[in-house]
């Protein structure tokens, strides 16, 4: 890897991506299409993982809180905090980096090796803008909704599974998820989501756009997209956490 080369080329690509759209109506149609591809099709995996993770966090919290000095509503409180602060914004975005990131890199990479991007360029289309901007815009628009759904399902998954497993009572859990709630934490979570949405789509598009070779290279681009998106998500997660929560 040549980090400065890639960094420079990434920012030059972003310059083209964020330039004025050539035809707003065509871009808008693409954004709607990408909202479906990136967002709606990710809903089942996000829902399944969130419900089960909510249940697991609740049962683990109940298992850990054995001291009589810890009130039982701490189980609901812990589940809410874990889901709102870290699981939904970060872990779900890491999962989406795998699903959405590899999809974007392989789609654009395949277009590159089959000369579809060359065809766009020769027509006079800003291929970077046409292909990448709608993906970034769609992800930034739809990810907060996906994560909100994940938060909701995670907390209620914790409720149903926790109560069903006898880890806590319904009253204690509901009391716990309402206790000491600070809306500032939601600003923090959704800021992370917006940054991660941009990272996943732009980094994956970068690796796809500069694919050179054949099917093997498309696979490599796809892998690189997931690896580097995940690393950047963790890095920016740490930076944002320090900025928002470190008093």
């Amino acid at each position: 890897m040549k980090p400065f080369f890639h960094l420079g080329r990434y920012f030059m690509l972003m310059g083209r991506v964020l330039s004025k759209p050539q035809k707003a109506s065509v871009y808008w149609r693409q954004i709607i299409h990408e909202i479906n591809t990136i967002g709606i099709t990710s809903l089942p995996i996000v829902a399944i993982i969130s419900v089960f993770m909510g249940g697991i966090i609740t049962i683990q919290a109940a298992f850990g809180f054995t001291s009589p000095l810890v009130p039982l509503y701490a189980i609901g409180f812990t589940t809410r905090e874990s889901i709102l602060l870290e699981f939904s914004p970060t872990i779900v975005c890491l999962i989406l980096a795998g699903k959405v990131g590899s999809n974007i890199a392989s789609e654009i990479g395949s277009m590159r090796i089959t000369e579809q991007i060359d065809a766009l360029e020769i027509m006079g289309v800003n291929s970077a803008g046409y292909l990448i901007f709608p993906k970034i815009a769609a992800a930034v628009l739809i990810f907060p909704f996906l994560i909100a759904i994940s938060m909701f399902l995670g907390i209620w998954g914790g409720y149903f599974m926790g109560v069903a497993a006898g880890a806590c009572s319904s009253y204690e859990y509901i009391f716990g998820i309402q206790a000491f709630f600070d809306p500032w934490k939601l600003y923090y979570s959704f800021t992370k989501v917006l940054v991660f949405a941009y990272i996943i789509t732009s980094v994956s598009s970068y690796f796809g756009y500069y694919t050179n070779g054949g099917a093997l290279e498309v696979g490599k681009s796809s892998t690189n997209a997931v690896v580097y998106s995940s690393i950047l998500i963790l890095l920016f997660g740490l930076i944002l956490t320090n900025l928002f929560l470190n008093q």
Binding site: Q22, K23, S25, V26, S110, M111, T114, E115, Q116, D118, A119, E121, I122, M123, G124, V125
Partner: protein, 260 residues
């Protein structure tokens, strides 16, 4: 008219295109022929701006394309239609959406006008009624025809075709060649075709440049390409011993028939 003057291109230490100059005639089918790896496709990619030029000029109606500002390049590119070797149709779009794409991007036509234009182009390439098929559902010849329909959708002034017959049987190749020639005449385009298919050369070669080891080795047309005027060209045109024997036999017959 398109003129290229002293084109040069190197990849690392390989000098792929060496001082190539040529005039492409408007309203004609201009062919760039030569062996695989001789630099034909590189010349075409230089002409449309997919490769950076190392030296020379590419003049579209007198405007030097490589040194134009981005807006000027875009203006010229919008006058170019290109048929890629493998079609390069957008996989996620139907035939109709592929053909409509340049109209959506660069025109303000109404939906009905675009539909009319799409159907007109599909009729020209004999793909009526295939509007809703995806590229994966088309045969090789149909893909080329769909790509040709997309290339002419925006009424281009220049049509570039990169090996339009590759992977096609001889009969389908002739259909594609005839289609390109007819469209060139009908729309008065400057058509540039990269090929090493000899059927195409003798069928539609109105203005031919033979590239040998990156150089412009011979220029002419389909009438004089079959004369033994150049050894390398002769070896390219009559590549097999069988074809050479046919050429010799034909020459012998001609000599006898012209004996006084």
């Amino acid at each position: 008219m398109i003129e290229i003057k002293n084109l040069n291109k190197t990849f690392g230490d390989r000098h792929v295109v060496k001082d190539v100059s040529f005039n492409f005639h408007p309203g004609k089918t201009n062919l760039i022929i030569g062996e695989s790896g001789c630099g034909k496709t590189t010349i075409l990619k230089l002409m449309v701006g997919l490769h950076q030029l190392d030296g020379g000029q590419i003049l579209y109606d007198g405007r030097d394309f490589p040194v134009l500002p981005p807006a000027g390049k875009q203006e010229i590119r919008q006058q170019i239609g290109m048929l890629f070797q493998a079609g390069a149709l957008f996989d996620s779009q139907t035939v109709e959406e592929n053909v409509r794409f340049p109209l959506d991007m660069f025109t303000n036509l109404s939906r009905a006008e675009k539909d009319d234009r799409v159907n007109f182009c599909l009729a020209k390439v004999k793909l009526e009624g295939r509007n809703h098929l995806y590229p994966a559902e088309l045969s090789g010849g149909m893909k080329k025809r769909a790509a040709l329909a997309r290339a002419i959708a925006n009424n281009p002034k220049y049509l570039f075709c990169d090996e339009p017959n590759s992977g096609l049987d001889p009969k389908t190749s002739i259909i594609i060649d005839t289609l390109i020639k007819d469209l060139t005449e009908e729309f008065n385009m400057t058509t540039i075709i990269i090929t090493h298919d000899m059927n195409s050369v003798v069928e539609i070669g109105e203005n031919i440049m033979f590239i040998y080891k990156g150089e412009n080795w011979w220029t002419g047309n389909k009438k004089n390409i079959l004369q033994r005027s150049n050894e390398e060209l002769f070896n390219f045109v009559f590549a097999s011993d069988f074809m050479k024997s046919i050429f010799s036999a034909a020459n012998e017959n001609a000599k006898h028939s012209f004996k006084p």
